[in-house]
């Protein structure tokens, strides 16, 4: 049995490692088309820094360097994505599954009776299911983070490509270098996590703002409402000075309603609040 188990482990791991979800890339794509080797890069930078080099030539050099760096960063990012989606995850599933299978088999072998052996095997299968669930969760998290990384990379990419139309006085190689660093950083897990957190925070703030701007309350118009309304509109005509005093008192009482109309005509103004506002205004109750 031990010999069978030892044979089983590499088979399981090898089978899992083969599942990457990505086809093999052709050798010529994408880095070899636009990437510059170190010698060419050094020569181009020297030419760029030469004061005799024309602005148009500098622009061409700058853009060649930009496309070379973009190409290399893209290739590294693609490799990174493949590793995230295959190696750790699949091996993790494979390792969990294998460990649990071995544990189950070990328990089976060690047990004396058939009943105990079946129970141990069953525990192994249940444990394996839990391991797969955990890895599916990991997979979904990775997918979300990769989506965030790609979104942020697209934003920086658009900025860089737009800037390639500018002349070197407006967009020098140094500025391009900074943008390329941002492009690289946009493809990191740390940056993706920051982006997800920021996005969640902004959504929460937007939701709070919407709640703060809309108020709905059932109709409520009482004798206390009439007293406040009489002060606001003596003889049926609006008095702006009195309106200001009512609003000041509403602020002191910290009423839910912002408008006087809502305060005196709906449950957004409670009777105790209306009574407090009347006291604040110095009106007889």
């Amino acid at each position: 049995m031990k010999r069978i188990i030892l044979l089983l482990v590499p088979l399981v791991l090898r089978a899992c490692a083969a599942v990457t979800g990505y086809p093999k890339q052709p050798q010529s794509l994408p880095t070899t088309i636009t990437s510059l080797d170190n010698n060419t890069l050094s020569a181009l930078i020297a030419e760029y820094n030469n004061t005799n080099t024309s602005a148009d030539r500098k622009k061409t050099i700058r853009n060649r360097i930009i496309y070379s760096d973009i190409s290399q960063i893209d290739q590294k990012f693609n490799d990174f994505k493949v590793r995230l989606n295959s190696q750790e995850n699949i091996l993790s599933i494979g390792a969990d599954f294998t460990a649990l299978t071995l544990a189950g088999l070990g328990a089976t072998v060690a047990s004396a009776g058939t009943k105990a052996a079946l129970a141990a095997a069953s525990a192994g299968v249940i444990g394996a299911k839990a391991g797969i669930d955990k890895d599916v969760l990991y997979q979904k998290t990775i997918t979300a983070l990769v989506t965030e990384m790609e979104a942020q990379r697209s934003q920086v990419f658009a900025r860089i490509i737009t800037n390639t139309n500018s002349d070197v006085a407006k967009y020098p190689l140094e500025a391009a270098s900074k943008d390329l660093q941002d492009y690289y950083q946009a493809g990191t897990l740390v940056n993706a996590l920051e982006g997800v957190n920021q996005s969640a925070g902004e959504k929460a703030q937007a939701a709070d703002a919407k709640v703060a701007k809309a108020l709905s309350a059932n109709y409520s118009y009482t004798d206390l409402s009439k007293k406040i309304e009489s002060y606001w509109k003596p003889d049926g005509i609006r008095n702006d000075e009195n309106a200001k005093q009512i609003k000041d008192c509403m602020k002191q009482v910290k009423t839910r309603a912002d408008s006087i109309t809502m305060f005196i005509n709906s449950e957004a103004g409670t009777e105790s609040e209306r009574s407090a506002v009347i006291s604040c205004l110095g009106l007889p109750k």
Partner: protein, 47 residues
């Protein structure tokens, strides 16, 4: 920043007064009669 106040069930007899109150405070008012035939919904939007 716009703000919106809604009173969903104002008795129809009181609708003109409440509408005028909102308008006196500078709101744009929309009155929608409810299916019960006796009340209306008043939505006031403040600029």
């Amino acid at each position: 920043m716009a703000r919106q106040d809604t009173i969903p069930n104002v008795p129809n007899a009181d609708v003109p007064r409440v509408k005028k109150d909102f308008e006196d405070e500078g709101a744009t008012v929309v009155v929608t009669p409810n299916p019960d035939g006796t009340t209306s919904k008043i939505v006031a939007t403040f600029p």
